[in-house]
C-alpha cells in the first residue's frame, strides 16, 4: 500500500447531462501540500466537492487514510478526518466567531499508524489567526471577506482533520491576507497536516505547495513538482494565463 493520505482513482463527476470531471487520478502524501491548478471552470472546485461527497453523480474511487470513502456521506467523510473549506467560505452569518468554531468541533483523532493528529482549540486557533482573537463575539455576517476566510479555515481545523481540502484560499481577499494565508498553510504543514488546495494564482501556489496537478476541462493535463512548474513557462501559459 502506498503511503498516500489521499488517493483519487479514476474519479468522474457529472451535473445533469453535463460531464464535468474525466477520470482524474492523483495523490496527496502525508504532510504534503498539493495544488490543483487551472483556470476558472477547469473543475478544481468540483474535484474537491466530489472528494467530499457533495456531488450526487460520481464514479471512481477515493481512498483516504487507508479507507475507501467513495459513496460515504459528507458528514461521515468529515468524521474520518477530512476537513473541507469551501471557496465561498459558507460562514454561518447568524452565529458568532466562537459559535462558528463550535459547529466545527470534533474529537481528537490519530493517523492510521497511531501517531496523534494535530488537535486544535479556539485558543490555539486564535494564536494562529490573531485577527479572530480580537472578535470572538462578532457575528459571522459582520466580518470582512479576509476575516471570514480565516474563520472558515479555523472552523475546519476545529474538526482536528488529518488532511484539509482548501478551495481557493486566496480568492477575493486583500493582498495582506493572502500573505497571511500562505504563512498559515506553511504553519499547518509544519504541524504535520496534509493539504490539497485549489488555486489559480501561481505566485500563491509557489509559496506553499510541493506538487501541482494542472486541470483543464475536467482532465489532468500536466503534473509535476512546484519547482518544475516554476521553470515551465509554457505550461503556465497554456493552462493558467488568461
Amino acid at each position: 500500500m502506498s503511503a498516500a493520505m489521499l488517493a483519487v482513482e479514476n474519479l468522474s463527476a457529472s451535473y445533469g447531462a453535463a460531464r464535468i470531471l474525466y477520470d482524474l487520478s492523483f495523490e496527496v502524501g502525508r504532510g504534503e501540500v498539493v495544488a490543483l491548478m487551472g483556470r476558472n471552470g477547469a473543475g478544481k472546485s468540483t474535484t474537491i466537492k466530489t472528494i467530499m461527497g457533495l456531488m450526487a453523480q460520481r464514479q471512481g474511487h477515493v481512498r483516504f487514510n487507508g479507507r475507501d470513502i467513495s459513496g460515504l456521506k459528507p458528514f461521515e467523510i468529515a468524521r474520518l478526518g477530512l476537513g473541507f473549506t469551501p471557496e465561498d467560505r459558507r460562514i454561518f452569518v447568524d452565529l458568532t466567531v466562537m459559535e462558528n468554531l463550535d459547529i466545527g468541533r470534533q474529537p481528537a483523532r490519530s493517523f492510521a499508524d497511531g501517531t496523534p493528529a494535530p488537535s486544535w482549540s479556539p485558543e490555539k486557533l486564535f494564536a494562529l489567526f490573531p485577527n479572530l482573537a480580537e472578535m470572538p463575539h462578532r457575528l459571522g455576517g459582520r466580518m470582512s471577506g479576509g476575516e471570514q476566510q480565516m474563520l472558515a479555515v479555523a472552523r475546519t481545523l476545529m474538526g482536528n482533520p488529518l488532511l484539509v481540502l482548501l478551495d481557493e484560499p486566496s480568492e477575493g481577499v486583500a493582498p495582506l491576507i493572502v500573505e497571511q494565508m500562505a504563512n498559515t498553510i506553511v504553519e499547518l504543514k509544519k504541524e504535520g497536516l496534509s493539504i490539497l488546495l485549489s488555486e489559480q494564482n501561481v505566485h500563491f501556489a509557489q509559496l506553499v505547495s510541493d506538487r501541482v496537478y494542472m486541470l483543464e476541462k475536467g482532465q489532468i493535463r500536466w503534473q509535476g513538482t512546484m519547482a518544475q512548474l516554476t521553470e515551465n513557462v509554457d505550461v503556465q501559459r497554456a493552462y493558467l494565463t488568461v
Partner: protein
C-alpha cells in the same frame, strides 16, 4: 364601547395568541432546518387535543390533566420523530412539491386514523384542575386558565430562545437553518439533527393542542384550520424565526379580538358588523406585512437551498404522433354519447373527468412552466362556480351569461391574490396561496346572506339547449378542449418562454429585460381565469355548489392530479386528471376511509414514481429506444 371592554378583549387576544404561537412555532423551526413545510403539523396539533382528552378523561384528576398534557407533548414528539425517520428522510432530495404532497398525504391518513380511534363526535375535555375559577379583571370575569395561557406562550418562547442561543443543539439548529449542507460537511450527522428538530417541533404542536383541551372540543376539522392559521402566522412572522412567530401571533390574535370587540358599528348610511370581518382583517394584516416585508416581520430572504437535484428537461411541442393521438382521443370523446346510450353514468363520469382536466391543466400551467406551486387553486374554481351560481340565484341570469362570468370572477380574484403571490416563491408562495384559498372558502362559508353558507346554492341547472346530458357533455368537451389548447398555445408563445425563463432564473431573465413578476402575475391570472371556467361548468353540471366542494381538499386533488401525471410534461396533467377523477368517482366512493386511501396512494406515488405516470412512461420508452 368602553375602554375597559376594549382592554378585556385585548387580554382575550393574548390568550388566543399563545394558541396560535404553539401551532406556528414548531412549523417554523422545522422548516428552518429541514426546509420541509410540514402540512401535517396541524394534524399533530389536533392529535394533541385528542390524546390529552383521553388522558384527562381516562386517568382523570390533576395527574390525568396536567400530567397528560406533558405526556401528550412527549408522545406527539416521538410520533413526529417516527414520521421523519420513516417517511421524510427518504424525500429530502425530492422536489419541494413532493415533500408538500407527502406531508399532505399524512394529513389525510392521520385524519382517518383519528376518526377510527376517537370517532366523529366532538369531544370536550374537563376543565383544568386548579384553574377552574375566574378572576375579576376590569370588572369582568376572566377564566384563570386563560390567564395561564397568556403566561405560558411567552414562557415557552423564552425557553426556546435560551435553548437556541445557549446550547450546542441550538447552535446547530441555527447553523443548519442557514446552510445545512455545510453543517454536514463539518461532520454533523444531519439525519440526527433533523429528527431531533422534527421531534421538538412536533412536541410543541402536541403541547399546543393539549393545552386547548380545557377550552375547545377535540374536532376532526381542527387539522386544516390549525395549519391555515399557522401558515398565516409564519408568513407574517417570518419563516424560521420563533420570536417572529410570537409577534405575528399576537398581532393577528389582537386584530381579530378587536374586530370582535368593536362589533356592529353604525356609519350613518350603512352598518358594518366587524365581528364578521375577522378573516378579512387577517388577510389585510398579511397583505400589509407582505407588501412591506416580503419575508415576514422578522424573516429574511431564504438563500437558495443548495441542492443537488437534477435540472429539469425542457418541454417540447407536440410531435405529429402526439397530435394524431390527441385528435383520435378527441374524436373518441365526441363519440362517447353514442357509447353511453346503454349506461348514462358514462356521461356523468365524462363530464367530471373533463372538468378535472381543465382544472388540472390550468394548475399545471402555473406550477410546471411557471414554477409557482399553488396550494390554493380551489379558490379560482370556487370563484368561478360561485360567480356563476350567484348570478343565477340573485339576478336570474341566463346560463350563457353566468358561464361567461365565471372566468371573469376567477380572473379578478387571481389578479388580486396573484399580485401578492408572485412576490414570493417556493414554499412561501405555496403557503400564501393556501391561505388565500382558505379565505375564499371562509368568506363563502361565513357570508350566509349572500352565499347560503354551508347550505350552498342550489337549483343551478343548465338551460336549453344544454339541458340534456349529451348536449351539456358536448359543451363541456368543447370548452375543455379550447381551454387546454389555449393554455398550450400560451406556453409556446414568447409569453410562455418568458414565464419559463423567469422560473429557471429570475435574475438572468430580468437582466435580459423580462419583467418576471408581471409575467408570472399574468400567468397566474390566466390560469385562474381558465380554472374559473371549470368551476362554472362544475356548478351547472351538479346543479348546486357548496363550500365543501371548493375547500382545501380540491386544491390538493389538483396537485395530486398534476403530480400523478408528471409535472414535467404537458400531457401529464391531462392523463393525471383523467386517472384521478375516474378513481375518485369509482373506487374512492366505495369506502368510508377514502382519505386514508387517497393518502396512501399519494405516499406510494411520491416514494415510487417521482416523475409521475407520464414521466415513468417516457423513461420507459427512452430506455427501450436506447436498448433497441
Amino acid at each position: 364601547m368602553t375602554l375597559s371592554a376594549f382592554l378585556f378583549q385585548a387580554l382575550n387576544g393574548l390568550s388566543a395568541a399563545s394558541g396560535l404561537f404553539f401551532i406556528a412555532v414548531g412549523l417554523s423551526l422545522i422548516f428552518g432546518v429541514t426546509r420541509i413545510v410540514n402540512i401535517a403539523h396541524g394534524s399533530l396539533y389536533m392529535l394533541g387535543t385528542y390524546i390529552a382528552y383521553s388522558f384527562a378523561t381516562k386517568i382523570g384528576g390533576a395527574i390525568g390533566f396536567w400530567g397528560g398534557i406533558v405526556a401528550t407533548a412527549i408522545l406527539v414528539g416521538v410520533f413526529g420523530a417516527l414520521i421523519e425517520i420513516v417517511l421524510l428522510r427518504r424525500i429530502y432530495r425530492s422536489p419541494e412539491l413532493f415533500q408538500l404532497l407527502a406531508t399532505f398525504a399524512l394529513v389525510l391518513v392521520i385524519n382517518d386514523a383519528t376518526l377510527w380511534i376517537w370517532g366523529s363526535e366532538d369531544l370536550l375535555g374537563p376543565r383544568a384542575p386548579g384553574l377552574r375559577d375566574a378572576v375579576e379583571v376590569l370588572d369582568r370575569r376572566l377564566p384563570t386558565y386563560d390567564l395561564f395561557l397568556i403566561v405560558i406562550g411567552p414562557a415557552v418562547l423564552l425557553v426556546l430562545h435560551l435553548g437556541l442561543a445557549r446550547t450546542r443543539f441550538g447552535r446547530l439548529v441555527r447553523a443548519a437553518t442557514q446552510d445545512r449542507e455545510m453543517v454536514g460537511a463539518l461532520g454533523v450527522n444531519q439525519a440526527m439533527l433533523f429528527t431531533a428538530v422534527f421531534a421538538l417541533g412536533s412536541a410543541l404542536a402536541g403541547l399546543g393542542g393539549a393545552l386547548q383541551v380545557a377550552r375547545e372540543p377535540a374536532n376532526l376539522a381542527t387539522d386544516l384550520v390549525a395549519i391555515g392559521d399557522a401558515f398565516v402566522v409564519v408568513v407574517v412572522g417570518g419563516m424560521g424565526s420563533i420570536t417572529g412567530a410570537y409577534l405575528a401571533a399576537v398581532i393577528i390574535a389582537e386584530v381579530k379580538a378587536i374586530c370582535i370587540a368593536v362589533g356592529v358599528v353604525d356609519f350613518g348610511y350603512f352598518t358594518v358588523n366587524f365581528s364578521k370581518l375577522t378573516l378579512v382583517a387577517e388577510f389585510l394584516v398579511m397583505a400589509v406585512v407582505l407588501i412591506a416585508r416580503p419575508y415576514g416581520l422578522l424573516g429574511r430572504a431564504q438563500g437558495q437551498v443548495r441542492s443537488i437535484a437534477e435540472p429539469e428537461d425542457p418541454i417540447r411541442p407536440a410531435t405529429p404522433a402526439l397530435k394524431m393521438l390527441a385528435a383520435v382521443a378527441f374524436a373518441l370523446l365526441l363519440g362517447l354519447p353514442l357509447l353511453a346510450q346503454s349506461s348514462p353514468y358514462m356521461l356523468i363520469l365524462g363530464i367530471d373527468v373533463l372538468i378535472a382536466v381543465l382544472f388540472a391543466t390550468s394548475l399545471h400551467f402555473i406550477m410546471g412552466p411557471g414554477g409557482m406551486h399553488s396550494f390554493g387553486h380551489a379558490a379560482y374554481f370556487g370563484l368561478g362556480a360561485y360567480g356563476a351560481a350567484l348570478l343565477v340565484k340573485w339576478l336570474a341570469a341566463p346560463m350563457g351569461l353566468a358561464l361567461a362570468a365565471a372566468p371573469l370572477v376567477a380572473l379578478a380574484g387571481a389578479l388580486l391574490f396573484g399580485w401578492f403571490a408572485v412576490r414570493l416563491s417556493g414554499v412561501y408562495l405555496a403557503m400564501l396561496t393556501l391561505a388565500f384559498a382558505q379565505i375564499v372558502w371562509a368568506a363563502v362559508f361565513q357570508w350566509e346572506y349572500l352565499t347560503g353558507g354551508s347550505n350552498g346554492v342550489v337549483g343551478v341547472w343548465p338551460t336549453a339547449p344544454f339541458d340534456t346530458r349529451v348536449s351539456y357533455y358536448l359543451l363541456t368537451l368543447t370548452l375543455a378542449a379550447i381551454g387546454v389548447l389555449m393554455l398550450r398555445r400560451f406556453l409556446f408563445a414568447p409569453f410562455g418562454y418568458a414565464m419559463r425563463a423567469g422560473r429557471d432564473s429570475a435574475l438572468r431573465a430580468e437582466a435580459i429585460g423580462i419583467d418576471v413578476k408581471r409575467v408570472h402575475w399574468l400567468g397566474f391570472a390566466i390560469a385562474g381565469g381558465v380554472c374559473g371556467v371549470a368551476g362554472g361548468l362544475f356548478a351547472f353540471a351538479k346543479g348546486s355548489i357548496s363550500p365543501e366542494t371548493i375547500g382545501v381538499g380540491r386544491s390538493i386533488d389538483g396537485l395530486v392530479m398534476v403530480l400523478l401525471g408528471g409535472i414535467q410534461t404537458l400531457t401529464g396533467p391531462i392523463v393525471g386528471a383523467s386517472v384521478f377523477a375516474t378513481l375518485q368517482d369509482t373506487v374512492m366512493r366505495q369506502t368510508e376511509y377514502w382519505r386514508a386511501l387517497l393518502g396512501g396512494i399519494i405516499l406510494l406515488l411520491v416514494l415510487a414514481f417521482p416523475g409521475g405516470i407520464v414521466g415513468a412512461l417516457e423513461k420507459f420508452f427512452s430506455r427501450w429506444k436506447t436498448a433497441s
